[in-house]
């Protein structure tokens, strides 16, 4: 694993840039002065206690949440209220949700081909070939004609990953992808994500899977109360945390 990780290159090209970003829910200040830069090929794990704003942060990156001040620039496109820019960013950024959010009325294959056909305007035949390619990659091509309700949680999450990949995104966001899964199924999803990381995908992942962070991340960000408290490369982060808040958090989740 460490060997695979060593091979991964991070380029100098900036994929996501966030400057002085602030967000409020009503009067509640959820994200405070967020500054971060993500280079192409980086694998970032964001962790922190619940309510720390980590999900909100990555949901701002594809504008599922609106930020009120500061700048978010994704692949050179700044996110503003201009719908055109939002659609452009969303078609470049894939997202995997905690609860999979597959479309229950469509088959697995239709789930995967819907956006390429309607957003990318790719012919149906071609979209289906791409979808089958990615379904093979997440190791469930045989489920293509079933409905999401017939699959296990782990399989559904892998379909969700394949669905995002079908749009050929340059950046992938993962919002607690394994939190809703049974322990037996977490591994199959993490394996898929590790494979993706090894192919050089730019990834931002909100997760509590510290094993995953150590295996593939090149940076771990710890958030609390809407702020970035500490960020470091994983070994330093886990072995030598600097802030008291981080130490407490790590002792709580690694304590058993």
């Amino acid at each position: 694993m460490a060997e695979a990780k060593a091979k991964l290159q991070v380029s100098d090209e900036v994929a996501i840039e966030i400057r002085n970003m602030n967000k409020w829910y009503g009067t509640f200040h959820v994200l405070r002065d967020i500054d971060m830069t993500v280079n192409r090929g980086e694998r970032i794990v964001i962790c922190g206690p619940s309510g720390s704003g980590k999900s909100t942060l990555i949901r701002c990156i594809n504008r599922l949440e609106e930020h009120q001040s500061g700048q978010i620039i994704v692949d050179g496109t700044e996110l503003t209220s201009d719908l055109k820019n939002i659609d452009k960013v969303r078609s470049e950024v894939g997202m995997v949700f905690q609860h999979f959010n597959l479309f229950p009325h469509l088959t697995i294959l239709e789930n995967c081909t819907l956006a390429p056909i309607w957003v990318r305007k790719i012919p149906k035949r071609e979209a289906e070939e791409t979808a089958m390619h990615f379904l093979r990659k997440v190791k469930i091509p045989e489920q293509a004609h079933k409905y999401p309700g017939q699959l296990s949680g782990g399989q559904q999450q892998r379909v969700a990953i394949a669905r995002s990949l079908c749009m050929k995104p340059r950046i992938m966001l993962f919002d607690e992808p394994t939190s809703a899964l049974d322990p037996e199924m977490i591994k199959e999803v993490l394996d898929t994500m590790i494979e993706l990381a090894q192919e050089g995908m730019t990834m931002l992942c909100v997760t509590h899977e510290m094993g995953f962070a150590q295996a593939v991340a090149n940076r771990v960000i710890f958030m609390d109360q809407g702020q970035i408290v500490e960020q470091n490369e994983p070994r330093e982060f886990f072995n030598n945390p600097q802030s008291e808040r981080t130490k407490l958090f790590l002792s709580q989740i690694l304590g058993h």
Partner: protein, 598 residues
């Protein structure tokens, strides 16, 4: 102390004990599960048996051949029975219950319309092409048999049989093309039912095609210059339509105000005969009427002022139509060109399409139909709306209103959930207003009040007015039903659609609506059934609905005076069959769409 245990082989499943299956189990669980339930079962059985014994002689001694109620009663007495149904009235008058006063020699027209209706519905109701073809075939056979039984003209039967056979063949070999039959059906139905020159209806199809074509053209334009030209053409067209609209509004408002002022003499009429209460009521009504007329005057005044100001010539305030036309036309042209230059908004395409329909209707249509009608007169005898009645009327109103109200309901539901303040307020206002008012009030509005808003001299078909109001009424209910379905969808579905880059309408059409409508099927079909039964209320505005309208006419006949149960049972059974069919279909649809495997 615990012994350790390791299972060496897994157990195979076994059959359940005998007393847990079969009829004995069912009886025990459902009817005789305890002393109280046993008593209730026996009591229920007693009541059912008593009721059947009471009603049975009436049904059993029914008389089918008689020319009057008196003859019926004589025959029943002859048989030595105490009571007996007089079904002879149905035998004598059934055609009025079905067709109203539609001319007898034209009965084949509604029959063919009904046959075509089933054929047109087939591709909508079933995904399974074979089922669609079977439905089309059955509809054809039934239509032809009915025509033969109704001794229709030979030509009509032959032509109808040929049409239905052609549709059946089409449904068998090219089921995908059946959707064109569905789209053409409204025009065919209008032509068959109301008659007139066939060119009018063909021209209407052409108008729609021209509109859609012109609208779609916008999507095909590839560069900014052609976009701009399109937008300018559309804007100029809009200015013309605005001119027509403002002329019309001016005429209407003047006429409306005259009528309102006249109706204010209502007050003394109300108050003169009565006491204090009546006088107070009269004064209140009078005040309301005055308030409305003042509001309308104020609105007209504001419109005049705005149009004058927009034209930057305050001296033209007096000349409202011209100023308004120029002002509005200028604004629309500006908006249109601005939009076109800024983005390729689909709205301009839709707007252009509508304008093309309007222009065609105003200019090409009258000329074309006159020319063709003079050259090749081809058509069916004209039937007036007051000749419609019975189930033909109920089904015409029901089917049209159902078809119109579903898309309207969806739009209202989306509007109510919209973030845009104005859209939301208008939707909420519309829904709450319509739901707060009884349908009969709306029907009265359709028959009486709408005339106030129309320019003097226009004759707007009463059936059409009723259909519009019935559609709006059920659309408001549907909107709430569909909103329930929308609310039941998890937020994750919207987020997933957004995250994949689908725009609002794509997300609604592909992700949200299929699921929301599926959840709402029971409610939607419930609303449809309610709407269909509510068509009987049109008797209040003088249309011949099957339940009250036709029955009153039948009972006004000296021969059938005093008949009571039989017509209502007959009408009730037909209503039940149709509504039960809808309900069964909705259950089929729910089964068919069940993909969540919960």
């Amino acid at each position: 102390m615990h012994d350790s245990f390791v299972r060496t082989e897994m157990l195979a499943p076994q059959d359940p004990p005998l007393r847990e299956t079969g009829a004995v189990k069912w009886l025990r669980e459902n009817l005789f599960s305890g002393p109280l339930n046993t008593i209730l079962t026996l009591l229920g059985a007693y009541i059912v048996v008593t009721l059947v014994l009471m009603a049975f002689p009436w049904w059993w001694n029914g008389v089918w051949n008689a020319t009057s109620l008196a003859e019926c009663r004589a025959k029943v007495a002859e048989m030595g029975a105490e009571s007996g149904a007089c079904w002879a009235v149905i035998k004598a008058r059934w055609h009025q219950y079905i067709f109203g006063f539609y001319p007898m020699d034209q009965y084949w027209r509604p029959v063919l319309t009904a046959g075509l209706l089933l054929a047109a519905l087939a591709p909508v109701l079933y995904w399974n092409d074979r089922k669609g073809a079977i439905l089309t075939g059955i509809a054809g056979v039934l239509a032809v048999i009915s025509m033969l039984l109704l001794s229709s003209p030979v030509m009509a039967v032959v032509v109808s049989a040929a049409i239905m056979a052609a549709l059946f063949v089409l449904a068998r070999i090219r089921p995908r093309q059946m959707i064109w039959v569905t789209l053409a059906y409204p025009f065919a139905a209008l032509f068959l039912l109301w008659g007139g020159q066939v060119w009018t209806y063909l021209s209407a199809i052409l108008a729609v095609a021209a509109g859609i074509g012109f609208g779609l053209l916008y999507g095909k334009l590839r560069n900014d210059a052609s976009n701009l030209i399109y937008a300018i053409v559309t804007a100029i067209g809009a200015a013309f339509v605005a001119a027509a609209l403002i002329h019309y509004l001016d005429a209407v408002s003047a006429d409306f105000l005259t009528k309102l002022s006249a109706s204010n003499s209502f007050y003394p009429g109300f108050g003169s005969g009565g006491g204090m209460v009546a006088k107070t009521l009269g004064a209140l009504v009078s005040a309301v009427i005055w308030a409305i007329s003042v509001a309308v005057w104020a609105m007209v005044g504001v419109m005049r002022a705005v149009s004058g100001v927009l034209n930057l010539n305050l001296g033209m305030l007096a000349d409202f139509p011209l100023a308004g036309t120029l002002g509005l036309g200028a604004v629309l042209a500006a908006i249109g060109t601005f939009k076109a230059a800024r983005s390729r908004a689909a709205g301009i395409g839709i707007f252009g399409g509508l304008l093309a329909i309007g222009a065609y209707w105003l200019i090409v249509h009258p000329w074309l139909t006159a020319q063709l009608g003079a050259a090749i007169p081809l058509g069916l005898p004209r039937i007036n709306s007051d000749q419609f009645g019975g189930f033909v009327l109920a089904i015409v109103i029901g089917v049209t209103a159902i078809t119109a109200s579903l898309p309207l309901g969806i739009i209202l539901a989306l509007g109510r959930r919209s973030d845009m303040f104005l859209v939301k307020t208008l939707s909420v206002g519309f829904i709450e207003f319509i739901r707060g008012v009884p349908l009969i009030t709306l029907l009265f509005t359709a028959s009486l009040l709408l005339a106030y808003f129309l320019p003097p001299g226009t004759n707007f078909d009463l059936i059409l007015r009723v259909i519009i109001l019935a559609s709006l009424f059920s659309a408001a209910y549907l909107a709430e039903v569909i909103r329930g379905g929308l609310a039941a969808l998890p937020r994750g579905q919207y987020e997933a659609a957004d995250a994949l880059g689908l725009d609002y309408w794509q997300a609604q059409r592909l992700i949200i609506m299929p699921q929301a409508l599926k959840i709402s099927i029971p409610g939607i079909v419930g609303t449809f059934i309610g709407l269909f039964k509510d068509t009987t209320l049109v008797s209040f505005v003088g249309l011949l609905d099957p339940l009250r309208g036709v029955t009153q006419i039948v009972r006004a006949d000296i021969n059938w005076k005093g008949i009571y149960w039989e017509p209502y049972i007959f009408v009730g059974v037909i209503f039940f069959l149709i509504c039960f069919g809808m309900s069964r279909y909705s259950m089929y649809l729910e089964r068919k769409l069940k993909t969540d495997h919960r």
